[in-house]
């Protein structure tokens, strides 16, 4: 997995949870939260306040304020009361209070937005500074709980600087406006933070931020064990940052499906021409990497093995042509270059798990190079590593899998395959060459219709085939003796992450008591886990759903983008539960799905050592 922009959103999660707690505040905040986030405006946000601020920012940007304001004022007064009514408490109570008035404060802040907007120019540098102040205090007090003050100070300084950068943001005074009465530059806040004794009210306000920081630190410690979460596309801030760094210009898709807000959905038509335009301006992208990006984008190459191989070969070229710039260390510079290539590829098309694992391997190898190795030797080493990886993990592994799987094909068999998988194709061709008599049922589905490619290969060879579409599998399954499926990845809870439709095939096969064999190389295994197909997926171009090939006049959905109630969903992957899978054929043998985490653990460590 490519480490994403490891950002405060990790820490932001707890605050999400906390915000929901305060009772009487929540309806108002909830209605604020439910304001439709129209477009991604560059809204400033603080660590603690972002969830609430984003709706507020959308308020700022033109939605109806008048209805918010009066209620806001009411709430504000309410919040003040609550804050004052809890004078002293134990530590636990403080947490609760932190939650509550963290909520209050934020509500107050969101209310403040309304007031700020109404009286525009009062820039509230004061406010901003008071907020940072209160945050710092909270940070400090939070710091006292679990971590050293120095780190909190540094954090606070960073935040203060960030806050100072953002202009016109909504913020509110802390529950103790008197504390902020100092006014002035953020720098003062640092001092004041040290001076002011932690007050309970401030605690409440910023207890959340400190806790987030705590969570983040322990997260850092455990980062080796937990796979990184992927880029969260429902988080405006991160998307904004990603956009700024982006090479490929992407327009957001219209009519996004709500359930998949956390995944990127972009207009597909515009990317290819844009990329072609900027080809000669992309100095920092190696041409072979650019080629791979273009091929991915246009779906010229698809399939885990092909994409991974092409990418590694492109990186190999890039390393051959690479020379260390002066004043830079070889390993670090090369790693950052590879990182930039990877970002480019991600923009063209999200990485597959196989590609992610290969990149992790390569970065690992670069990191393990000896520092004093001369550059040419290091490059040769890396190049041989890449060659070795491709050979061993992809090519030879494929051959071993074929050897294993062919033993499961007997004369007179009827095999069902779905879509296009390179490994399954090799298995069938090898079995045919061995002279086995069997029949193949090729199942295909829209919109990719990848089965036709495989069908063509098989028919050219002379293998007897039946071709049908995925809806007809209940009809054809009673004839089938065994199902062979490929996979994009197999996850640690045994779930098979593969082309969309695989889960339905496995389910119907299971209902008809037909064994399901998944053929997958071990380099595609991953330690992440997944329960359903929604949390992590890839969204394709929705326009291909509207167009039906072969029925050009069938255009009921040609104008789908004009109806805001209508969405088209083009999912690319799905997650097959492990109980539908009889066996996974890997180069280490044929294993049940429960053995996948064992393989990940044993051979995953091993593969980096060679």
């Amino acid at each position: 997995m490519i480490p994403p922009f490891r950002h405060s959103s990790v820490g932001r999660l707890p605050s999400h949870a906390r915000i929901a707690v305060p009772g009487y505040m929540s309806p108002r905040r909830r209605e604020g939260l439910q304001m439709p986030i129209g477009s991604y405006n560059s809204s400033e946000n603080f660590l603690g306040m972002s969830p609430m601020l984003s709706p507020s920012s959308s308020q700022l940007n033109g939605s109806d304020l008048s209805e918010v304001a009066p209620s806001a004022r009411l709430a504000r007064s309410g919040s003040g009361k609550v804050a004052s009514s809890f004078p002293g408490s134990t530590g636990e109570m403080m947490m609760v209070m932190a939650v509550k008035s963290g909520g209050n404060a934020s509500a107050g802040i969101s209310l403040r937005n309304a007031s700020v907007v109404k009286t525009l120019p009062r820039v509230t540098e004061k406010d901003e500074e008071t907020r940072t102040l209160s945050k710092n205090e909270g940070a400090k007090s939070g710091g006292k709980k679990k971590q050293t003050t120095t780190r909190a100070e540094r954090r606070a300084l960073q935040e203060a600087q960030r806050a100072a950068k953002e202009a016109g943001m909504e913020n509110g005074k802390g529950n103790k406006p008197k504390a902020s009465a100092g006014g002035g530059a953020p720098s003062i806040s640092n001092k004041e933070k040290g001076v002011k004794p932690p007050q309970k009210v401030e605690n409440l306000d910023t207890g959340t931020t400190s806790e987030k920081r705590i969570v983040r630190n322990t997260e850092k410690d455990r980062k080796k064990d937990i796979p990184q979460p992927q880029m969260q596309f429902d988080d405006k801030n991160r998307v904004e940052k990603a956009k700024k760094r982006a090479v490929v210009n992407k327009l957001e898709a219209k009519n996004r499906v709500e359930l998949f807000r956390h995944l990127p959905q972009y207009e597909h038509g515009s990317q290819l021409p844009y990329l072609q335009e900027i080809f000669f301006h992309l100095d920092h992208i190696h041409p072979s990497v650019y080629k791979v990006g273009l091929q991915s984008l246009s779906w010229t190459i698809s399939g885990g093995n092909a994409r991974c191989k092409e990418m590694l070969l492109a990186f190999r070229e890039a390393i051959v042509d690479y020379s260390t710039p002066p004043e830079k260390a070889f390993a670090r510079d090369l790693t950052s270059k590879i990182g930039s290539y990877v970002s480019f590829l991600i923009e063209c098309r999200p990485l597959s798990v196989s590609m992610g694992n290969a990149i992790r391997f390569l970065k690992n190898r670069i990191a393990k190079l000896q520092h004093d190795m001369p550059e040419s030797e290091a490059k040769a080493q890396l190049i041989s590593d890449i060659d070795h990886f491709i050979d061993e993990k992809i090519v030879i592994a494929g051959k071993v899998i074929v050897q294993h799987a062919v033993t499961k094909i007997k004369d007179g068999d009827v095999l069902l395959i779905y879509g296009y998988s390179s490994v399954v194709e090799m298995i069938l061709l090898h079995a045919y060459e061995q002279g086995k008599q069997f029949r193949v049922v090729v199942v295909d589905s829209r919109p990719m219709l990848e089965g036709k490619i495989l069908l063509r290969t098989l028919v050219t060879k002379g293998i007897r085939c039946t071709y049908t579409h995925i809806n007809a599998i209940s009809y054809i399954m009673h004839e089938v003796r065994c199902v062979f499926l490929g996979a994009s990845s197999v996850l640690s809870n045994g779930t098979v992450y593969s082309r969309i439709g695989t889960a339905s095939i496995a389910m119907v096969a299971h209902a008809f008591r037909v064994p399901v064999l998944i053929c997958c190389e071990t380099y595609k295994f991953h330690e992440r886990v997944q329960l359903d197909s929604i949390c992590s997926n890839e969204l394709g171009d929705p326009d291909v759903i509207a167009k039906v090939s072969g029925k050009e006049d069938f255009n009921h959905l040609a104008d789908w983008a004009d109806h805001k109630n209508l969405q088209l969903l083009n999912l690319l992957y799905d997650a097959t539960p492990s109980d539908y899978v009889s066996m996974i054929v890997t180069e280490h043998g044929m294993v049940p799905p429960t053995s996948v985490p064992v393989i990940v653990r044993e051979y995953g460590k091993y593969q980096f050592l060679f």
Binding site: K452, T468, N471, A503, S504, L557, Q567
Partner: protein
């Protein structure tokens, strides 16, 4: 009746060429044709019901043979036969009733009508016991003696008998035609009756999944929308006809949140769905469903995720037969060019393979069979039923004698 035979032949041709789309249209046209057959039939003096039955069975056999997969045709034929039998029984009962009057008058006085209610009730009860109830062993053994046995006790009232018989003859045809009209009315209004139940099954913020396009489902969802239930719909497009697109357009026009997904995405999305609502082509006697292809996959996925699977269908789709190997015997294989264009693979296929069997076989079935254990609820125009109840409805609409529509060999 040459002109009626011409009509029948026309209809048979239409069925053979699959020109009529949909069970509702087929059912209605079948009923209208049979009504014409009944009205044109000249009835003999005695045993009219038998004549009618023969005539209808004759025509019905031709219709069923024209398109055996369209079960609605057979359903309507059997319904009409059942109607004839029932009308015959009720007219016999009223005849007995009248005859009971005459017997009464024989006993007491010809013009005393006060005792009619009592005695006629008794007489009716007596006849009911022997005729209107499910066939008793006696009647089973004696073939079709209902109309013969009942008038026996009335042999004394010759005059009135003759009068009632002629009235009865006209009445039978009239009653049958009226009943067939009611049947046609039911067929046409089944959607309204089904849609009335929508509000009881759909709550707020529901997420519904359907596949392809069923008119019944469409009306069902419109009715719920009308009652201001807010819900969103995932529509699987339903290869190879892709009628899901059409349904999506129609739902969006009414302001419903709609998302069109591919059929392969059903398993992925069903975990976030509250209810699956689909239409059916036919409902078999054991509660199994013949539905457009792909719906069995949806039913299995719904079972896996414990999502209720609701089938909406009018009662004209209820077939009294039990399915045997329905995937093959009750299926229609359609044109393969929907999947693979003609000539698309001609460049790579070697047509000289030995054995003569084709190298590439394209399968395009039209229907799927869903076993009754996967269905949670049937919503019909008579209300909601569980699959285990469907066999009972058959007794309401069909007679066991009619399950096999074949000309009886006249002994």
């Amino acid at each position: 009746m040459p002109d009626i035979q011409a009509h029948v032949n026309d209809f048979v041709l239409k069925l053979k060429r699959r020109k009529i789309e949909g069970s509702q249209a087929t059912a209605r046209q079948t009923a209208e044709l049979l009504r014409a057959v009944v009205s044109h039939q000249r009835l003999p003096y005695t045993n009219q019901a038998l004549a009618l039955l023969d005539a209808v069975r004759d025509v019905g056999e031709q219709l069923i043979a024209a398109n055996p997969v369209e079960l609605a045709v057979g359903n309507i034929v059997r319904r009409v036969l059942h109607i004839i039998r029932e009308e015959d029984l009720t007219s016999v009962a009223s005849a007995v009733d009248g005859l009971g009057l005459s017997t009464n008058s024989d006993d007491d006085d010809n013009f005393e009508h006060d005792d009619h209610p009592i005695l006629s009730a008794a007489a009716v009860a007596a006849t009911a016991r022997s005729t209107l109830r499910a066939p008793s062993l006696q009647t089973l053994l004696e073939g079709l003696p209902e109309s013969a046995s009942a008038p026996r006790p009335s042999s004394s009232g010759g005059d009135s008998e003759g009068k009632s018989k002629s009235a009865e003859r006209k009445k039978l045809k009239h009653d049958v035609i009226e009943a067939i009209n009611e049947l046609i009315q039911d067929i046409e209004t089944c959607h309204e009756q089904i849609s009335e139940q929508a509000v009881g099954l759909i709550h707020q913020n529901e997420v519904i999944l359907t596949l392809g396009r069923s008119k019944t489902v469409k009306e069902f969802l419109f009715a719920a929308n009308e009652k201001k239930r807010s819900f969103r719909v995932f529509i699987a497009e339903g290869a190879p006809r892709y009628q899901g697109h059409v349904l999506a357009k129609e739902l969006v026009a009414k302001g419903l949140q709609t998302t069109v997904i591919t059929d392969s995405a059903v398993f992925a999305m069903i975990s976030r769905v509250n209810m699956v609502i689909v239409g059916a082509h036919a409902i078999m006697a054991n509660g199994g469903v013949i539905a457009p292809v792909g719906i069995n996959m949806v039913a299995l996925a719904a079972q896996r995720h414990a999502v209720p699977f609701v089938v909406v269908a009018g009662t004209h789709k209820l077939c009294p037969l039990y399915p045997h190997n329905p995937e093959v015997l009750l299926n229609d294989l359609q044109c393969p060019s929907d999947l693979l264009d003609f000539g698309e693979f001609s460049d790579c296929m070697d047509f000289s393979t030995s054995g003569g069997s084709p190298l590439l076989h394209v399968v395009n079935p039209a229907f799927d069979f869903i076993p009754s254990k996967l269905v949670s609820l049937f919503v019909t125009d008579t209300g909601g039923h569980s699959p285990s109840y469907m066999y009972r409805l058959i007794a309401d609409y069909y007679s066991t004698d009619d399950f096999v529509v074949e000309r009886r060999i006249k002994s």
